[in-house]
Subunit: 421 residues, 2 copies
């Protein structure tokens, strides 16, 4: 398919091209051209009149558990430990690979409505996640979640080999669930694997104060210090959440080139705290943004997360902190790098055509005093007209084009949760 | 018009009727019937198949400055004082009554997309606000904003008489801008007015620590203490923001029956703080929710505010604090009471037909484990199918029915800001 977008505003986020009015041509999975007039590339299979609306690189959801959609609004308003032990774990034990396939598709539908074009997904049944992603056309980084309850370094190595080569839409990053669920022998084996593959490592990191305290109690070190002492971040990587991080741990993150993936809605809702995003940025530590799973958030919406990233830092550091342009780079670019996809970060010829069309012709975007600020401070899912991944339109004006019927996915998801004890 | 909604889920929020499946008939401006089958009330001018979606009382925006839409994204990321003195005040000085009329309509368009059916609006040119509200059909409580730069008690009394009788969609509440802009002689006159009319009073209250400190410096009392000592709240009323409130001030609010209107997005973005909503609720002080103006927020979206109300309290008080049902009552009911409209708070025969239809058939609402929690924790504007005020459909599936062309309003709003120095 060769598609021409014309009459568009384009915000490439490539660090050199400012927002301008022009045209963009997609050929196959990549961007062929981006200039004021693209008529020379005709014929086109489709020409889309953008009506002055905005083309932007898609948002990258840098931390999620897509399969948790079945738990949405099931057991909120409980403290973290009761929520996990009384609700989440017993229900998750009843999941099948078939369930995870459907529930991941439900999450993908929601990502598409929010302009999300990439998920960094840590959950069980990675075979099912990969199938759901490939079948719908959704770009996905899988991440290992070995821990004491399942998964070994050898299995992680096998997965790495298998999923790295599986499909252009799939990447695989080494990972384990969290320090508090993974004891020393497994961590040591995983560190050996990181060294043999020379690959970065990702994990839940410093999400709660209790988690850090328990690590100090058994190791004498804070979580990032302890994991770093095992060599796990010698090839970089990053942490999901990173709420309670000391100065010394930030120095480690900086030295290792680690990314902090912030999940502000989940951290508020589970009363975990506010991540030191401002401090990360001051030290040049890249920040990406994740929704976390629907069980804790409960929605998978990058607009909500973007406002929270900036709003919570302004609350802590004053109204000038973490402006809209920084947040857009976190949302559109940094997540791509963390996931190992370096070619879907911005709009430029040769890059993957992972892009969204934002409706500026809505009251919440008017007047157009500053489009970047409008998106971050005022944008909502209602502004997403179109979501494209690798050159395929998967969502357009309320309709999904993912090779499956949303109604069927809703019905099947309802059946899954109703059938559980 | 007699309209039948059928095949609906209905959440009346009347404190006795649970969420159920049924039908609702609107006749003129009021709800005629709400029961499992309303066929007996035929003939109908229109029958709306709700497709299992949810009817809910409209959201009430209990604090806003609608006319500030022209400042959206114009001057963000500045500290409060620079933002006000360098950007807001010089631009506002150039507003005309005609501008306020158009800019208020722009805000009304946005309210409708977010299921907001009532605004409690404090801004200049109340004649223009009332006209915009009446012309579009939008329910509006005007509030006086006398202060040292304009407005007297006599003018406030005239406005009270005029707007209280003007139109069924309009109410008028006594008010003044804020303690820090209003000196003693005017406050004394306004207190006399409250006593002669036996009416409640509303104002910006304890928004920033600096405001409270300055009141202590000149009066020896905190803001609520000082204003109460002048008798301003002897007939109740309330405060917008209420971020920095002492124990003793909460006792005053409780004793006077005052409402706290919380504006969490604005308070984050301007680094004002987090309101003690949890503490208000513990003391039985009613809390309503406002967006504040588009200059500080920057969107006028009740879904964002609802999540922030609960998320920020969970952050402060643990994951069990301020659950979804409480938030829905704040958003749908308490704002109506604060505005002096007691008949648009819930869905019941005889009540005003101010209601919204929420699309549950979207990925962010699936599965339907708990619909109230889905709305507050996962809802977004994208879920608003229809917004009705006083029996008139003003917004339906992306289209506006307000007697004016949105494109004209956008163009005119852009012209207003572009023409300013």
């Amino acid at each position: 398919m060769k598609i021409r977008f014309f009459n568009a505003r384009i915000l490439p986020l490539d660090d050199k091209t400012p927002l301008s009015i022009g045209e963009l041509v997609v050929d196959g999975s990549t961007i062929l051209a981006m200039q004021s007039d693209c008529a020379q590339f005709s014929p086109f299979d489709r020409e889309i009149d953008c009506g002055g609306n905005l083309l932007l690189p898609g948002f990258k959801n840098a931390h999620t558990h897509s399969g948790m959609t079945f738990l949405r609004s099931l057991a909120d308003d409980l403290p973290l430990q009761r929520w996990l032990t009384e609700q989440v774990f017993p229900k998750e034990a009843q999941l099948t690979p078939e369930s995870v396939y459907v529930l991941t598709k439900l999450a993908i539908l929601e990502y598409l409505t929010s302009g999300i074009t990439l998920m960094f997904d840590m959950y069980f049944s990675r075979e099912s996640i990969a199938s759901a992603a490939i079948d719908t056309g959704f770009r996905t980084a899988l991440v290992g979640c070995a821990n004491d309850f399942g998964g070994t370094a050898a299995e992680t190595a096998d997965e790495y080999a298998r999923y790295s080569a599986l499909h252009p839409l799939i990447s695989y990053q080494l990972g384990f669930h969290a320090e508090y669920t993974t004891s020393y022998p497994l961590l040591r084996d995983l560190s050996d694997l990181a060294h043999s593959l020379k690959q970065p490592f990702y994990t839940h990191l410093n999400e709660t104060q209790a988690e850090v305290d328990s690590c100090v109690a058994h190791s004498g070190m804070r979580t990032i210090e302890y994991l770093d002492s095992l060599g796990l971040f010698d090839f970089g990587g990053g942490g999901y959440h990173c709420v309670h991080v000391s100065e010394h741990e930030m120095e480690i993150m900086q030295a290792r080139g680690m990314t902090a993936v912030t999940c502000p809605a989940s951290n508020l809702k589970l009363a975990s705290g506010i991540a030191p995003v401002y401090e990360f940025l001051e030290r040049g530590i890249p920040v990406a943004i994740g929704t976390d799973g629907a069980a804790s958030n409960n929605c998978l919406d990058m607009f909500r997360e973007m406002f929270l990233v900036t709003g919570l830092q302004k609350y802590r550091h004053g109204a000038g902190a973490v402006d809209a342009n920084e947040v857009l780079r976190m949302a559109c670019r940094n997540g791509a790098y963390a996931c190992g996809f370096r070619d879907c970060d911005c709009l430029a010829p040769g890059k993957q055509a992972d892009l969204i069309l934002i409706d500026l012709n809505q009251p919440n975007m008017q007047p157009l005093n500053n489009i970047e600020k409008n998106i971050v401070y005022s944008g909502s899912k209602q502004n997403v007209c179109l979501t494209m991944i690798a050159g395929r339109v998967l969502y357009e004006r309320g309709e999904f084009f993912i090779g499956d019927d949303p109604e069927r996915i809703y019905a099947e998801s309802a059946r899954i949760i109703r059938s559980m004890k």
